[in-house]
């Protein structure tokens, strides 16, 4: 770990004032881990744990405001979330371990970094090091020719194939959350779909945050009336593991036809993967297996598997079909 200075911010203003060249630290479950590996080397850490952003509040329009400092456990077990946004509660509880969920925050999870093994290793140029354009731009991608069973099949580029690891983000993508940030230029909102960036030529740029900006809260739109939602995560072991494929679905069925549908996938994309292709294939269609399979086909049509992860394409399809069945099942 590199030496760093540490500031504890009592409020948002002070946090923003200290942000220049610094990293905010909330739960620290990703950041401290990566600092120990020299992947993150901030000169200053601004501790935002004192910030009054730890509330979950109903909005006048029926939506829900989630403070950036709300812990994953608190969010998952919130009565309001369990009742109105079960997909989010299920996604959160499928992630990490209880200990990590007790520390990890909503804002932090939006910024969770990949578990790509090569991202976590020393850089190319040192003996035995690995290229990683995300960690050290311009050094190549060791994962392409390396062990890439866990890597992405959607949204990859020849510069990066790292999977976005978050479960929470997949649910939020399907819920069309809105991210509120505050920074040197004031406050602004970012639609969830615009928040995470595809790797393209610049895999080190992972999101739409600008220098010095702080996530203050996340708003969930009013629950869709009559819709059901679900999260399904498939993985090698039953707990404490990242998804091989996951799916978040919000659906409303009327008269046997799909009248509202939001689909997002995890474990397969370089960002939380909203599938508008699947949604287009389902909208207005009968809620049946044929439609689900067609949607799964559409969702994975552009998949580009690597040498060790071709199975993810088929697994993601099955994951999607099952989730669609669950979300559209009549009680």
């Amino acid at each position: 770990m590199e030496t760093f200075s540490y500031v504890k911010a009592p409020n948002v203003e002070k946090a923003l004032a200290s942000a220049d060249g610094a990293k905010f630290i909330a739960g620290g479950t990703t950041l401290v881990d990566l600092m120990k590996l020299y992947v993150e080397t901030p000169k200053t850490l601004v501790d935002i744990n004192l910030l009054p952003l730890d509330k979950i509040e109903k909005l006048p329009d029926g939506g829900l405001r989630i403070g950036a400092m709300v812990r994953n456990s608190d969010l998952a077990w919130s009565e309001e979330v369990k009742k109105s946004y079960p997909v989010l509660s299920e996604a959160l509880l499928s992630g990490a371990s209880p200990q990590l969920r007790n520390m990890a925050t909503t804002g932090g999870n939006l910024l969770q970094r990949t578990r790509c093994m090569y991202f976590r290793e020393p850089s190319a140029g040192t003996p035995g090091g690995y290229g990683c354009n995300k960690r050290t731009p311009g050094t190549g991608c060791a994962a392409v020719d390396g062990f890439n069973r866990m890597h992405a099949v959607l949204g990859t580029s020849d510069k990066c194939i790292a999977t976005h690891p978050s479960d929470m983000c997949v649910a939020m993508a399907a819920l069309e959350a809105v991210i509120h940030v505050e920074g040197p230029k004031g406050k602004r909102t970012i639609a969830f779909a615009d928040f995470h960036k595809l790797p393209g030529e610049t895999p080190h740029i992972e999101n739409a945050l600008e220098a010095g900006e702080l996530i203050t809260h996340v708003d969930l739109p009013k629950p869709v009336e009559g819709a059901k939602s679900t999260y399904l995560k498939l993985r090698d072991r039953a707990s404490y593991e990242f998804a091989l494929a996951s799916a978040a679905v919000v659906a409303r069925v009327e008269g046997g036809h799909i009248r509202y549908i939001r689909v997002a996938m995890g474990g397969v994309g370089t960002k939380p993967w909203r599938s508008r292709e699947a949604e287009a294939a389902l909208m207005g269609k009968p809620a049946n297996e044929a439609a689900f399979k067609a949607a799964a086909q559409a969702a994975l049509a552009k998949a580009k598997p690597q040498k060790d992860n071709a199975f993810k394409v088929e697994l993601a399809k099955r994951c999607l079909v099952r989730s669609l069945k669950t979300a559209t099942a009549t009680a």
Binding site: G128, D236, S239
Partner: protein, 743 residues
């Protein structure tokens, strides 16, 4: 604790050291903080093959708090252990920093010692090595091997019998490199007091460790003491010393200060052993009624560049079944990897996976129940050595297991069994493990404070050895468990056995029982001879021990505590020694084939729509002689079954083919079974004492619970999915081709 001595052997007994562990007061090796201690952090090679051209330690040496940077150029003399010396078994033939050649990723190239752990960690990060790197040989598969094969067990004419067999199986089974992951990482605290070295170590064998350290450091054995009060498990990875032990000892000697060295989890994947990859060809030939006529087992396992590590996959092959024609061959394949090391059930566990998977395929070929196939081929004697078994109840394990599992309800068709919208797969396999009684010396002492102590230089690796010791003393003396002090884990104690091979329980009981009996005899003699003793003048044979009191056999209570006798005699303590005769010297056991047996029955749940497979239920029946403490023993077996779930479905160390680095070397990326992966486990012990295994007839249960589990899982997977997976672990991608797509 109130128990009656008469029933203590075989009674489920809570661990006497449990409260120390639940309160965090049990001191593990890294918990020893010695005044003035410095902290050592190793620097590891980031290539797998080549030479260190230059090692630049100058930046590290200037870092705050840094006291010493040790490496090939300055470590001074370290020695290899004497080849073939059974009292000094080492892990790696090469000593630490012996040369400037790198033979595997993660090999230690330097050691930084500083005032604090953080300072040492920071300085270790700036030690820079420049290498003449070569392309490492880390190819995963071993099937490029073309060299000679060593001949193993042999009888009859395999080739001829196999050629003419009516039904045949000829398949190759693969087990991957698996890494020992005890919760406690390896560590070493070295303390020199002038010429005397004390090492707080994470070892499964303090006595052997001491001899190895003396030989490695080139110091007299009487100058070395090794202490392991508690061990957070080892699974074989901590059987013998690793190079970091000598590194900490040398650093401490050079600095004249105690030094602590703790490995990181990442180092655990490269520096302290692993179960090597095995590729095993099994050929089985049988008559149409299922009688085996030919069996061959040809295996390869990888080893390191300098060590000749034979996994011994055919450990159980020559004796488990009756077959007239048998052949075993093996070879080692060198790779730029660290030295392999025994892991729970070495040889037998991967070997039985292959052989039992082959037997299951044979049963399918024969359209015969796999339980029946095994019973038909049960052996009446050890056909390899042509000697009788001491105590073998393999068939009973199979029958009891089948009954408890409900095996008769099994329908053979793929995907034919269902429950709650899931397909069920049922599979089974047999298990065995060798039994040996090692030499052991124990001391039992009555103390004037009313307590009894028992001591021996073995160790409790988390399995319940402390409690076993207390149970035996309690049974013999009647002194309650809470007045018995068990002292283990110190090489200055009388020599005790290594905690490996499931051998401790069977080895220590005789010595403790004899020492207890001898000490009691001495107490009785003292009580009849001391002035003032109420028993003065009585004959020893009229007296007995009861609850720590000495009384005349025909009388009730009211007789003196042993402590009163000691006080009258002005003696602080009275002790006696007992020794265990090893099985190879005991006329009763030396010409017997000693093994434990077991049967594993596994149920998997399979959801084909989402390719989700989980092990839901395991019934395991174990024939391991008399069970001293069913609570601790069942704990061992259940833990082994969970490890078996990992072996079957999850565990695999993956090496990057370019660098040779174990690329999934962390607890997040190397998958072991979690609690959520643990099935319902039903453990049954047959509890037949082994007549040649000494005082109680116990054989030990450390490994047998893991044997056979993986083969039973792959059989259950085949039953559920129709997919025959012959390379462990069974992964989701192996099952996507399953034909039955709906439960």
């Amino acid at each position: 604790m109130s128990t009656t001595p008469a029933g203590i052997i075989g009674r489920p007994t809570p661990r006497i050291d449990g409260p120390l562990k639940t309160t965090g007061t049990a001191k593990y090796s890294a918990d020893f903080h010695i005044e003035g201690m410095a902290y050592a952090v190793p620097v590891i090679a980031s290539i797998a093959s080549g030479k260190i051209r230059t090692l630049d330690t100058s930046a590290a040496e200037k870092m705050p708090g840094v006291l010493l940077v040790l490496h090939h150029g300055n470590i001074g003399p370290l020695y290899r252990t004497v080849p073939g010396d059974g009292d000094a078994t080492n892990s790696e033939v090469r000593s630490a920093f012996e040369d400037d050649v790198v033979r595997h990723w993660g090999q230690y190239i330097a050691l930084v010692v500083a005032e604090t752990f953080e300072q040492a960690t920071a300085a270790a990060a700036v030690v820079k090595a420049d290498y003449e790197a070569e392309k490492p040989s880390v190819r995963e598969s071993l099937d490029d091997y073309t060299g000679e094969r060593k001949k193993g067990s042999h009888r009859g004419d395999f080739d001829k019998a196999f050629a003419s067999a009516q039904v045949k199986v000829d398949q190759t089974y693969v087990t991957p490199i698996e890494t020992h992951n005890p919760i406690e990482m390896h560590g070493s605290v070295a303390v020199w007091d002038r010429e005397q070295l004390t090492m707080f170590e994470t070892t499964q064998g303090v006595v052997n460790h001491r001899v190895v350290m003396a030989q490695t450091l080139g110091v007299p054995i009487e100058n070395v003491r090794v202490v392991t009060r508690f061990l957070g498990s080892g699974f074989g990875g901590k059987l013998f010393p690793w190079p970091h032990c000598a590194m900490s000892a040398v650093a401490a000697r050079k600095l004249g200060r105690p030094v602590k060295l703790s490995l990181t989890r990442k180092m655990m994947f490269s520096s302290v052993g692993y179960r090597p990859r095995t590729e095993q060809r099994i050929r089985l030939g049988a008559s149409s009624d299922g009688k085996l006529v030919a069996l061959s087992h040809d295996y390869l396992n990888n080893t390191s560049m300098l060590d000749d590590f034979d996994e011994g996959c055919a450990e159980a092959t020559p004796y488990l079944y009756s077959v007239a024609n048998l052949s075993v061959t093996s070879a080692l394949v060198r790779r730029n990897l660290g030295a392999p090391m025994y892991m729970r059930g070495p040889g037998a566990v991967p070997g039985l996976y292959a052989m039992e998977a082959g037997m299951n395929e044979l049963a399918d070929e024969l359209k015969m129940d796999p339980v029946k196939l095994r019973i038909v081929n049960d052996a009446e004697k050890d056909e390899d050595k042509n000697i009788p078994f001491s105590s073998r109840h393999y068939q009973e394990c199979l029958e009891v297991g089948a009954k408890k599992f409900g095996w008769e309800k099994r329908t053979a068709g793929t995907g034919s069994m269902k429950r709650d919208g899931k397909i069920l797969g049922w599979g089974m396999a047999g298990a065995s493990w060798v039994a040996t009684r090692l030499p052991c010396t124990a001391h039992v002492e009555f103390h004037s404070n009313g307590r009894v102590s028992v001591r021996s230089g073995t160790q409790d690796i988390g399995t319940g050895t402390y409690t076993t010791f207390a149970q035996v003393v309690h049974e013999k003396t009647g002194v309650p468990l809470d007045r018995i002090d068990v002292v283990l884990g110190d090489s200055s104690l009388p020599d005790g056995p290594m905690s490996g091979g499931s051998m401790v329980t069977g080895s220590v009981c005789d010595a403790i029982a004899k020492a207890s009996t001898e000490a009691m005899k001495k107490m009785l003699a003292l009580s009849t001879g001391i002035d003032g003793s109420p028993l003065k003048g009585a004959k020893a044979e009229e007296l007995e021990f009861a609850d720590g009191r000495i009384r005349k056999k025909d009388q009730a209570a009211g007789d003196p505590e042993f402590a009163e006798i000691l006080k009258l005699a002005r003696i602080d303590g009275l002790s006696a020694e007992g020794k265990t005769v090893p099985t190879w010297e005991d006329p009763q056991s030396k010409d017997k084939s000693l093994h434990s047996y077991g049967a594993q029955f596994v149920e998997v749940e399979w959801e084909p729509e989402i390719a989700r497979l989980r092990v839901s239920r395991v019934v395991t029946v174990i024939d391991a002689g008399r069970i001293i403490n069913p609570k601790a023993a069942a704990n061992q077996i259940a833990g082994a079954v969970v490890m078996g779930v990992g072996m079957g479905l999850l565990e695999e160390t993956v090496h990057d083919q370019r660098t040779g680095q174990p690329i999934n070397g962390s607890m997040a990326d190397y998958l072991m079974a979690t609690c959520a992966d643990s099935p319902d486990i039903d453990v049954t012990f047959l509890d037949h004492p082994d007549p040649v295994m000494g005082e109680y007839g116990a054989r030990g249960v450390g490994e047998i619970g893991l044997a056979g589990v993986a083969a039973a899982i792959t059989a259950a997977v085949h039953h559920a999915t129709g997919m025959r997976v012959r390379e462990l672990p069974v992964k989701i991608e192996n099952l996507l081709g399953a034909k039955v797509l709906q439960a």
